[in-house]
Symmetry: D2
Subunit: 117 residues, 4 copies
């Protein structure tokens, strides 16, 4: 596990943009769009694979996927920071919401969320 | 700042899926697709706004955006965990690559990355 | 097959926007973003299905998918019209490019495009 | 305007895939994912532009955008054909639905759809 935290990453990205005077491009709208672009590059790696194939990527392919995951993460952290959102807290709040929405006892095995859809 | 870490979140998501027996749906391909779906829901909030408008969301809108950011983050962490990728490390490696690709001295002010594109 | 043409659709969409004074929102940037949002809603229907399952949708699900396909198409036609691009011509030009890039004799059976990726 | 029709395009795409034995990759799920990938490449061209800038692309940029529009269109037509959906008819049905949902008299000038969101 990394010895760096999400907070360190946020700081590094602020410094990176400030050193280049790029904040002016980083409106939430533009960052959201950039995030979508990076997700497109990420899913490209999986588009023609079966589910099983996607579980056993070659090391070379995995390296490429890792780089795309990093790009997605970077824009997600930038966007959240620009909006003043704490990603970790927001995620835990969402998990609490989902826990009530899909109680383990009720959905276990039935995968209701997926099959009812 | 949250007192939880990315590692705590990863653990919470593993438990959440295990309690519901949902791992079978979570192939990397499916998770990547779910991530793309959530990003679509996120950018929907910004689609008709100008860049300036996107900088000053109403509190109500910001709450909605925060929930979408959480969804994106959750699937990104799930997908990375499934593939064995450490997101923080991957992001710092990418920043190092970008620092060489776009040296601050050369691109500062000119925003070369953006205007040349 | 429909007795309407793509040109009829383009005209109908121009009228629809003009009657509502919505052209001001329809910058290429915004239309491209709206297109991405609709594609997110489309792929949501397929995210947890296997490839085989996606080939045999229920009639009810197919109706929902059809409506999403329509939304994607509408924004694609709007965006192309705004930019002065003839979609049919552009697609045939792209097929010609792809025919040279992936000669049938060479890639047949090997699915080179897919497996090499 | 092109002298080819959407129906001609559908036929050309069927022939293209058959000649290469690529139908096996073309499940609706995979085609939907490929469509999302192409939309990502399309919106990349607009991500850092203002709305006004996106209205006046250089000829070189417009050529690139046109090629991405073609890719999006090709996968949209493939996916619709695979599912047996007539895109033109579906789009006109959707316009009829939207006409009732957003009556011109009520929304004109106020852009209710956009501002209420």
């Amino acid at each position: 596990m990394s010895d760096k935290s999400l907070s360190d990453l946020k700081d590094a990205l602020r410094t990176f943009a400030a050193e280049r005077d790029w904040e002016k491009f980083h409106t939430p709208k533009n960052l959201a769009m950039a995030l979508a672009v990076e997700v497109g590059e990420l899913i490209e790696h999986f588009q023609w694979l079966t589910g099983d194939e996607s579980r056993s990527l070659t090391p070379q392919k995995l390296d490429q996927v890792e780089e795309e995951l990093a790009d997605v993460f970077i824009y997600l952290v930038k966007l959240s920071d620009t909006l003043g959102v704490d990603l970790i807290d927001a995620a835990f709040r969402k998990i609490a919401i989902n826990s009530k929405k899909y109680p383990a006892k009720r959905v276990r095995g039935s995968a209701k969320k997926y099959t009812e859809y």
